[in-house]
Symmetry: C2
Subunit: 209 residues, 2 copies
């Protein structure tokens, strides 16, 4: 199972953004939502073996984290507005008293209080990678290193902050790059996903089955 963790430095952790001006009113939550499409959806439906975490570090309710699980996700569409509507409903739901960790709000969509700490507590074992233009080319990473349950940490439109970089590297994360240019976060997800698709043994069950 692949996990993607997208760190939204300016993305709101509250539901009070406008669907009519998503980018302008949500601290660029749109950047993170496009990563959900890139990670979870392909032509045949939902990639059941992928989980995406959106770490929301801005606004009065921050930090909070949205988790989209491919295994149980329903109603995830590729276009931004319905994705934003799902996020808005999940973030707006009242949290049960005494709840700990991730609480499921919709099919396959859960919310936790906390940022990277909450994600790390939820992840379990798996090799960590930090997507970074100056890292090693992903095409040169050994199959064995990308196998299993890798976790990919990805920045937003501002990149990855120095403190976040230190934390991911302290988890044993390795810096990897997907190409020579600095790309949008969702393009990075697409390129990592393609590399994983290509490494999957022929005859292995397709990701969506």
């Amino acid at each position: 199972m692949a996990r993607f963790v997208v760190i939204g430095q300016t993305a709101t952790a509250s539901a009070d953004f406008s669907l009519e001006d998503l980018a302008g009113s949500s601290g660029r939550l749109d950047v993170l939502l496009r990563c959900v499409r890139a990670a979870l959806l392909y032509s045949h439906g939902v990639r059941r073996d992928v989980t995406v975490y959106l770490v929301l570090l801005a606004g009065p309710d921050a930090p909070r984290t949205l988790r989209f699980d491919g295994a149980s996700a329903k109603y995830v569409r590729p276009d931004e507005r319905p994705l934003a509507t799902l996020a808005k409903k999940a973030l707006g739901a009242e949290r049960p008293v005494g709840a700990r960790g991730f609480v499921e709000r919709r099919h396959g969509i859960a919310v936790a209080d906390g940022g990277l700490d909450a994600v790390v507590a939820d992840l379990g074992p798996g090799r960590a990678f930090l997507l970074d233009e100056s890292g090693d080319d992903i095409r040169g990473i050994a199959d064995a290193d990308l196998a299993g349950d890798p976790v990919f940490f990805i920045g937003d439109h501002l990149g990855v902050s120095a403190s976040m970089r230190d934390r991911v590297l302290a988890l044993g994360g390795r810096s990897i790059a997907v190409g020579p240019e600095s790309l949008h976060s969702d393009d990075v997800v697409t390129l990592v996903t393609n590399e994983l698709d290509r490494r999957r043994p022929r005859g292995a069950p397709a990701a969506g089955l």
Copy 2:
């Protein structure tokens, strides 16, 4: 210069779609607009050496084609709603009497009557490729074949129709694939763009400069 031609079999050629229900009201024009983001935008701005054609084959005004030129594009944002607003304005503008071919409507955004014929008349020379899951892996295509002004023809959420496939192959197009899975059109654009980025000689001007 790279050119992408995305063929929208159900995408409306009229401006009468709703921004509140883009996917449902436009015949999945959202699929095509996401390709514009993937082709034209990266972290440093607009890729000036890329042109995208959206072939709109549905609705009473069809066929028509939208052209987005990276060289002169302004106000192209990554989120869907503003991209849809640009498309709506361009499609809604009255066509000058006697105009032929592509007519610019906004900075870098032009409209032509006609579908693939209008695109082919506009393209000029360049090697054609048809993106197709059963094609040759793009990673194995020679640098010389991808150099110059390649044109990549890509299907929509329904794929590429048999008649469209025959037309592209009749142009001398070669079938190529970007990986083992069937992907969304914008992911295909991202993967082709990454391959071109990787083939660009080191020290060559970055795409956006």
